[in-house]
C-alpha cells in the first residue's frame, strides 16, 4: 500500500484530517484499528463546545471558536458530498449551576478570558427566572446558567460515518481492523509502516492520530506523545418529545429525542466499563436540573476513554527527528472537526494560509518542566 500521506488512526480526528487532505488532492491512506480497540469517536458526547475552553490558554479558545464558526459550512459540505445530515444545531449552550459561588467563579474566569481575547467572547449569565421562562421544567435547585452563544451539538456517529464515506468516495483509502506495529523512515525519504497482519505500507508523510495508541507508536517518530486515558460514562433515555432548548456540557436532547446525560471524569486507566456508582451520579445530576427526568427510562449507558494530554489541550507537533512525521491528538474531535479538515491539512502541507500551531507543539511541556 502506497500513499502520499498515511494517517494512523481512523477516528474522527484522523478522518477529518484525511478528508481535508483528500480535498487538497493528496493520496491518503487511513489505517484504522478494530472494534476491540478503544474508540473514543464511538463513545463521545457530541458537543460543539466553546464556553469555558481556553481559560489561561487564549490560543485554544481562538482555535475552538474558529472551529465552531466553520461548523455550519463544513456540515453543509459533508451533507452535500455524502447525503448524511449531521443534525448540527448551534443554538448556544447552557452551563447550569446549583451554587451561586461556583457560578460567580466561572463568570470571573470567563470574563478574564474575554479580556484576553480583546473583549470578543460572547456569553451571558441567565438568571433563574429567565431560565424557567425558556424551560419551565428546570428544577428549583438551579440558580442560573451561563449561556455561551457559540455552543452547539451534532450527531457524532453520523459525523464519523460521513467523514469515512467522504474519504472513500473522494478516492482515499481506509483500512479498518489493522494494527500498525512499527513506523520507520526509509533511506530515500518517506516512511515504511509495518502492520500486525504482515502487510506493509509506505508514504511520504505520516500522521499519528491514533488516540491512546500514540503513546506506543509516538517514540518511534521522536514524539513524547504524553497521552492518558480518562473514562467518561454516558447515559441516554428513551426518545422523548423535545423539551430541552439548548445543549449543556452534561445534558442534551439529541435530534432523535433521547436525552443524553454525561459524563464522568475518572482516572481508571485502560478500563472503559460502566459502573453503577457513576451511572447513579449522572442520573442524580440530570434529575436535579430537570426533575421530570426521574420519570424517563434509561435505555443505554456506555463508557469511553478520553485522550488527555498533560494540560488538556490538543497537541499538533512536527517531529524534529523525523521530518515528515506529525502528531495530532486532542479530546475534542467533534468540536474541532472543521478546523481539522480545513486548516490542519494546510499546516501538514506547509501551504499558504496554514495556521500557526507552535503553541500547541509538544515543546510546551518541556518548557514547563524546565521552569
Amino acid at each position: 500500500m502506497r500513499a502520499d500521506i498515511a494517517i494512523v488512526g481512523g477516528g474522527v480526528v484522523g478522518l477529518s484530517l484525511a478528508y481535508g487532505l483528500r480535498r487538497l488532492g493528496r493520496a491518503v491512506l487511513v489505517l484504522d484499528g478494530g472494534d476491540g480497540d478503544f474508540r473514543a469517536s464511538r463513545g463521545n458526547f457530541g458537543l460543539i463546545w466553546v464556553q469555558g475552553k481556553g481559560v489561561g490558554a487564549p490560543h485554544y479558545a481562538r482555535w475552538t471558536r474558529r472551529a465552531a464558526a466553520m461548523a455550519p459550512d463544513f456540515a453543509a459540505e459533508l451533507a452535500e458530498a455524502t447525503g448524511i445530515d449531521l443534525a448540527l444545531r448551534q443554538p448556544g449552550g447552557f452551563d447550569y449551576f446549583t451554587d451561586e459561588a461556583a457560578l460567580a467563579a466561572q463568570v470571573t474566569a470567563m470574563e478574564g478570558l474575554r479580556a484576553e481575547l480583546g473583549g470578543d467572547y460572547p456569553f451571558e449569565v441567565v438568571g433563574p427566572n429567565a431560565l424557567r421562562r425558556e424551560m419551565p421544567e428546570i428544577g428549583p435547585k438551579v440558580v442560573g446558567a451561563i449561556l455561551g452563544h457559540e455552543d452547539g451539538h451534532m450527531n457524532p456517529l453520523r459525523l464519523l460515518r460521513a467523514l469515512a464515506q467522504g474519504v472513500r468516495h473522494g478516492g482515499g483509502r481506509v483500512e479498518t481492523g489493522v494494527r500498525v506495529t512499527s513506523i520507520a523512515p526509509l533511506a530515500g525519504g518517506g516512511f515504511a509502516l509495518a502492520l500486525a497482519d504482515g502487510r506493509e505500507a509506505a508514504a511520504e508523510k505520516v500522521v499519528l492520530a491514533a488516540g491512546l495508541g500514540a503513546a506506543e507508536l509516538g517514540p518511534q517518530l521522536g514524539f513524547k506523545a504524553q497521552v492518558r486515558p480518562q473514562r467518561g460514562q454516558v447515559l441516554i433515555t428513551e426518545r422523548l418529545a423535545p423539551f430541552i432548548t439548548r445543549p449543556s456540557a452534561t445534558i442534551r436532547q439529541v435530534d432523535e429525542g433521547g436525552v443524553q446525560i454525561g459524563a464522568s471524569h475518572e482516572e481508571v486507566g485502560l478500563d472503559d466499563r460502566e459502573t453503577v456508582a457513576a451511572t447513579a451520579a449522572l442520573a442524580r445530576h440530570a434529575v436535579e436540573v430537570f426533575p421530570l427526568l426521574a420519570r424517563a427510562r434509561l435505555v443505554r449507558s456506555w463508557g469511553a476513554l478520553r485522550i488527555l494530554t498533560p494540560d488538556g489541550l490538543p497537541i499538533y507537533h512536527r517531529s524534529e527527528t523525523h521530518p515528515g512525521a506529525y502528531l495530532v491528538t486532542c479530546h475534542s474531535g467533534i468540536t474541532l472537526a472543521a478546523v481539522h479538515a480545513r486548516l490542519l491539512p494546510l499546516w501538514i502541507e506547509g501551504a499558504e494560509g496554514a495556521p500557526d500551531l507552535e503553541e500547541f507543539s509538544e515543546r510546551r511541556f518541556a518548557i514547563q518542566t524546565a521552569a
Binding site: P91, E124, G127, N129, M135, E238, R239, A241, F243, R297
Partner: protein
C-alpha cells in the same frame, strides 16, 4: 383471530388464556407470552409510529435491544413489548411518536436568555 397472523406458535398453548386489549380490541394470549409475541400471534402487524418519520414499526429483535416494539401499556408510554409479560386485563396501545414527558408540547422558538434577573 390468530389465523390472520403470519406467525404460528411452535406448540399449541394449553387451555388457559390471558385476555388483553390492543387499541381497544380484545386479544388472547398464552400465559408467559411477551406482549410482543402476543401481538404478533394475534395478527397485529404495526405496533408504533416512529418519532422521526412517523413510519410504522413492529417488534423486530424480540430480545430488548432494538426498541422497535415500544408500545403504551396501561397508560405508560415507550414500554418494550418484548420485555413485558402479558397480564390479564392489560390495555396496550400503539406508541405514536415520542413520549411526552413535559407538559408543553414540544418547543416553539428558542426563548433566549435575556439575563435580566
Amino acid at each position: 383471530m390468530s389465523d390472520a397472523s403470519p406467525f404460528r406458535r411452535l406448540r399449541e398453548p394449553g387451555p388457559s388464556r390471558v385476555r388483553l386489549t390492543f387499541e381497544g380490541r380484545e386479544i388472547h394470549a398464552a400465559p408467559g407470552d411477551s406482549v410482543a409475541a402476543a401481538l404478533l400471534a394475534a395478527g397485529v402487524t404495526s405496533t408504533r409510529e416512529t418519532p422521526v418519520s412517523g413510519a410504522p414499526r413492529a417488534p423486530f429483535c424480540m430480545m430488548g435491544a432494538c426498541f422497535d416494539c415500544v408500545v403504551e401499556i396501561d397508560g405508560e408510554a415507550n414500554r418494550q413489548a418484548c420485555m413485558t409479560t402479558v397480564r390479564e386485563g392489560m390495555a396496550v396501545r400503539r406508541q405514536r411518536g415520542a413520549r411526552r414527558l413535559a407538559a408543553r408540547g414540544g418547543i416553539e422558538g428558542d426563548g433566549g436568555g435575556d439575563g435580566s434577573d
